[in-house]
């Protein structure tokens, strides 16, 4: 059974994180003005803002894919200096490896974590079960719909048991119904696993629905305008005990209460 493990979620501190680019004609562009933010373990933080407000830049810095021009980010007591499998990421365009089948994609990070082959398969199947895609384990990503691809990507990210998960407009490319469905399921999974999540979107509705806290950013130059606490979710989602029970049966939790 997949259960929350103690001590997995870690706090994330952003201390004066900033990014500026030099353009070809010698000007500098302030992509992100200094950001200070404390994200508590297990928090679901949503960053919302228009395109060009530096929210993707911020996420890439936190994930270690881009280095900041100033400031630093800390995960627990470790400074972010490059990508690490302890920090997972879900991309807008899924980023599934097309040469691997669905289960191969979920196993990818597990193999990098040097988990023995036999255990890998079992873990990957459990996470595919979590997103209701066990029947598609042997399929190639190109055979799946957009929503299913993103569910595979979510399974792939959660399977490596990172302490923090970054999500870069993960539902941005999906139609409204699928989007709503995945938001709902993401919250269920998150409530089971209690990871720290930093989620980026340009949809205010999505932000309010998902978040514990919403960070509102403005563009040119990118900076934080307001930080809001959201309590919409508490009304939207039934008590947690419910989801814990439904995940104990063989029925995927997806199919319940939907």
């Amino acid at each position: 059974m997949i259960g929350p493990k103690p001590n997995l979620a870690k706090p994330l501190s952003l201390r004066g994180l900033a990014k500026r680019y030099a353009t070809a004609d010698g000007r500098t562009i302030e992509a992100l003005l200094p950001v200070d933010l404390e994200i508590t373990p297990g928090e679901f933080l949503v960053v919302v803002g228009p395109s060009g407000c530096g929210k993707s830049t911020l996420l890439n810095i936190l994930a270690g894919l881009t280095s900041p021009s100033a400031g630093e980010a800390w995960v627990g007591d470790i400074r972010v200096e490059g990508p690490d499998i302890d920090r997972g990421m879900v991309f807008q365009d899924y980023a599934l490896f097309p040469w691997l089948d669905v289960i191969g994609n979920v196993e990818f990070g597990l193999e990098r974590k040097r988990i023995p082959r036999r255990e890998r398969r079992g873990i990957a199947m459990r996470y595919l079960e979590m997103v209701g895609l066990t029947d598609f384990a042997e399929k190639r990503p190109r055979e799946l719909s957009g929503g299913m691809k993103q569910r595979v990507a979510i399974a792939r990210t959660f399977a490596t048991e990172p302490s923090i998960i970054f999500m870069d407009e993960p539902f941005g490319a999906l139609d409204a119904l699928t989007r709503r469905y995945l938001q709902h399921q993401l919250l269920r999974i998150w409530q089971q696993h209690r990871k720290t999540v930093v989620f980026i979107t340009h949809s205010v509705v999505e932000a309010i629905y998902l978040a514990d806290r919403v960070v509102l950013m403005t563009a040119r130059p990118g900076r934080i305008k307001t930080v809001l606490r959201s309590n919409c979710r508490i009304r939207a989602i039934p008590p947690r005990t419910n989801s814990a029970q439904s995940s104990a049966g063989s029925t995927p939790i997806w199919t319940k209460n939907w």
Binding site: I85, F97, W99, R112, R140, Y181
Partner: protein
Amino acid sequence: MTEAAAPAGAKPSGPAARLLRSTTRLLPYLYAAVGVVTVWWAVVLIAKPHMSLLPSPLLTAQTFVQLVASGELLSHAAYSVCRVLAAWSLAAVVAVPLGFAMGRWQRLERVLDPVVELFRPISPLAWIPLAILWFGIDEGGKIFVIFIGTFFPILLNTIAGAKNIDPVLIRAGRILGCTDDASLFRKVVLPAAMPQVIVGLRISFGTGWAAIIAAELVAARSGLGYLISNGMEVLRSDFVLVGMVTIGVLGVLFDAIFRWVDRCYNWMGE
């Protein structure tokens, strides 16, 4: 629910179905062969050319059987195939790593690209005189010509494959634990570029196979090219035609092998 989940593929499987499918694939070749032989026979019957100019399909078939029985045809074909295989493998060993390096390091590509563009339009056949001067009429000269001919298609396709990898896959690979260049290359770059590399290997084998005949026409004592040019010298056009048919059949055969390999490694779908 918007999630359309089509059930598993509807293709019939099993040995019988597979045999049927491969027979169906062979049919067009059969039609082509029948068509060519019909036209050929019609020309022979109507124009009645001298035997040394255009022998009948029947006579050519008899010569074919004779050459097969004496082992000559097999030996010539084996010479040609081995030369192409040797030169092509050598080209692959050099061009694939170089192509990956050029595709992933812009600086290297900027330096080497003009050199490649300069040499690329030169037909491998233009290298035959120099090849003979430098390496003589032994194996070295021919392998050199085929190497030149196969090198560029492999190199250019590998560069394209390595360059056009979706950047988000690289980012996903790094996030999922490929933190050093070696593992990123092995787990992401290599499989992502593989289909294009195989295209390069397949195309180059075709150009190599065409070029070996030209090289053997000029300077050789063996090989299918030699069989053809010798046929001309001794006025045996049936030898020439047997050589040509063999070249065609072997060419199709190798292409089929590559397509099969391609199907195993190509994740882009049919």
